[in-house]
Amino acid sequence: MGTIAPRLSVVIPTHNRRDAVTRLLGALRGQEAVAGGFEAVVVADGCTDDTVDAVRKLETEFSCTVLEQPASGPGAARNRGAAHAVGDILLFLDDDVEPRPGVLRAHSEFHAQVADGVGIGYLEPAVTARGFFGVVLRGWWESMFEESRRPGHRYVYSDLLTGHCSLERRAFERLGGFDATLRSHEDYELGYRAIAAGMNLRLVAGATAVHHETSALAKTLSRKVDDGIADVMLLQRYPALGPSLPLARRAAPGLVGRVAARLAAITPRAGDWFVATARWLLPAYERIGLRFRWRALLDDLLDYWYWRGIAQASGGTEKLAAMLQKAPPPMEPELELDLACGIADAERRVDEVRPRGVRFVYGEHLIGTVPGRDGAERLRGLHLREIIVRHFAREYLRAAARAGAIPDGLPALPAEIREESAPPQAKQRPRRSALVA
């Protein structure tokens, strides 16, 4: 490699996955050339298999370093790898992903174009599980990118997935790296700080890595406890995130969920025993094709373990409620946009001000407000069309009709648009409840 530092460092934390990490390094060998070159830094986090030897024996045309440390979790492993890396850009890849050709170049070009960027790469799920669980697991992974794929998406902290993401090294150091105390959702936590620091989260076009997802149902259920604990820690640290966390809006559970919750209130062991028994209904439902009952039961089981984690970390529902009450009220909109002046004018004004929230009007008629939110990037002009059509379509049509702006040939407003129902305020999208950590 000579004495010139490579432009990009690929940081790969791994734990006892020799075959996966060698597959990943093999895929890096097939990557197109990146301007400035790249290196790989593998951090063996408490590996007890022969991962370290296997990686050292690999012949690569790029620099490949293996660091060893006692088991400390993926956040700590990424921090260790980043501290050792010399590239200007850090590309974090989990050991179970396999980059498609062009990934390194896509991230490199992204950072050349976007200042203070956080590049999010697409993880194409290759799920090992079969049957209903395989279908749901793949769907869950795909849904993680559903919003960020939209050109007008307003990024939020939970869009950051560290399985495949990149930052400039200086920015990573400025942020202080990952919070190594979190066993789950350390990517969301970093996403929150990145957005608060004004960084630009973006989905990187052309950066695709296959994600070999081998999680089984049992592992998925056990991880939900960690998710619950991590969400409580996020809430304690950033009370403003409260309304966006799944724990803020407990969905009405099904019968199994209700019974399990009652039992857990008496003694957690009874609740645990009950859901462990109820779990065996899943294969029975699947055998007779009752996919919606199967899904409802799975949701109950996931919900139960998530709440067990919350109970463990929060110390009880009263303490949790107290934490949630610390959330500050939504911020008032900083800008009023008259859409009668055209969308281009509104976009220009938003790009000038970059407000947290806006109020839409059509002439003298109110359409609705987008309140400021913690954990979401400041508004850009690009967001407006998406927000208007998805959250304010009926309100826009009503206001335009009152202003006489709808052309004559079009129908009069039908009842489904005329009737005012929900208050005209952009709904806050709840963070997806994680199926896997």
Binding site: R149, R150, A400, I417
Partner: protein
């Protein structure tokens, strides 16, 4: 009397539609800047539909037209995705001994060759060389002969022959309009979308049989785009998804959910249902199907009463054959509820009418033909399965 079909552009002042002497009704197809946003039937009075009637009909189009106007006004395309790659496409036409219809279809899609797309005609178990002769009149159109009879056999052949990202099917009696292919392609930005279907409207309603078919079994599925998601929607309820006459599939669909079931559809005892069975498997595997009314194609319905009755009988056979297959092989108990729901809403009222000795309506014989088809469907599926096993 027949029904005329006329476009009405909502962004321009309405003008009376005249010269309708041969028609008693007019199907008004409403557009906003070329995009179809609604349809209404209007009476023809003194050979004409006047502007007042057009305005009243336009007012019935409802929310779809307004939502589309909003998206158009602010320049929003809900199909857009970050970094979407332009997908290549093969337009596949599976045909059998319909040279005149095929010629019209090829005339409509042949310009797509200039845009770099492929066109493939699969001649299914031909008895004559007439299909090949028609294809030879269109430069750049590829011809393959599939000797084994069956629409799904031909569809599978098209999937194997194509080398493009998408394989887009149109019937040999349909006429896609300009922009049809681009509209279907635009739906594949999300990798979960394996299939897209479009809006199919009648190209003519010149006979009573065609009017009855359109009344009983229209291909149109509304004027608002919709995503059918296998993660949330019931995969066996595919009646609203669309039809094989106007559908695009990713070529990799075959690898992900398997090929078309060759025991179903035209050319087999089951007569139809091959497209819907594929929709079921796509959704059951958790993928998505986009219905996009921006992809417009015009279909020529059968012209005679006997043909329409036979077609509807075939639909009954195909749907219940598909249900039988899903129940027997995939354990989809949901089809029982669906079969009952269809029977109760479509067929039971007609049976009740007959039991009460009420006079039949124009569509009564057609509904009963469909019901007879339904009753025959399970036997047809077992017969088709046996024949396929012997092949």
């Amino acid at each position: 009397m027949a029904t005329a079909i006329r476009d009405v552009e909502l962004s321009s002042p309405f003008a009376p539609i005249g010269d309708l002497g041969a028609y008693s009704r007019c199907l008004l197809v409403f557009r906003w800047r070329r995009r179809v946003v609604g349809r209404q039937i209007a009476p023809v009075v003194r050979n004409c539909v006047d502007t007042e009637v057009i305005a009243q009909a336009a007012n019935q189009c409802g929310a779809d037209a307004l939502y589309y106007w909003l998206a158009d006004t602010i320049g929003y395309d809900q199909r857009a995705v970050v970094g979407a790659r332009a997908l290549t496409a093969t337009v596949a036409i599976c045909t059998r001994e319909r040279p005149d219809d095929l010629s019209r279809t090829l005339g409509a899609v042949a310009p797509l060759i200039n845009a770099g797309h492929h066109i493939l005609v699969v001649d299914n178990a031909p008895r004559t060389s007439r299909t090949r002769e028609v294809v030879e009149q269109f430069r750049g159109v590829r011809y393959v002969c599939e000797p084994v009879a069956g629409l799904n056999v031909a569809r599978n052949r098209a999937m194997r022959e194509a080398s493009t990202d998408l394989v887009v099917f149109t019937d040999d009696d349909a006429v896609p309009e300009a922009g049809w292919l681009d509209a279907l392609r635009a739906n594949f930005g999300d990798p979960r979308v394996l299939c897209a279907t479009g809006l199919t409207l009648p190209i003519e309603l010149d006979t009573e049989a065609q009017e009855l078919f359109e009344e009983l079994s229209p291909f149109a599925r509304g004027f608002r785009r919709r995503i059918f998601d296998g993660q949330h929607d019931n995969p066996v309820e595919v009646g609203r998804v669309g039809a094989g006459a106007n559908m695009a599939l990713r070529r990799q669909t075959v690898d992900l959910v398997g090929p078309f079931d060759e025991r179903l559809d035209a050319g087999t005892p089951t007569r139809s249902g091959g497209d819907h069975e594929m929709f079921v498997r796509i959704l059951a595997a958790g993928y998505q199907i986009a219905y996009d009314p921006a992809a417009v194609s015009w279909h020529r319905h059968r012209r005679t009463y006997d043909e329409v009755r036979d077609t509807l009988w075939g639909y009954g056979v195909g749907v219940y054959a598909m249900f039988t297959g899903l129940l027997v092989e995939r354990g989809e108990l949901g089809v029982l509820r669906l079969a009952w729901a269809w029977f109760r809403s479509a067929h039971l009222p007609e049976l009740r009418r007959r039991l009460l000795r009420r006079p039949p309506t124009r569509i009564s014989p057609l509904i009963l033909a469909e019901l007879r088809g339904c009753l025959h469907g399970p036997a047809a599926w077992f017969t088709s399965r046996r024949l396929r096993a012997q092949r």
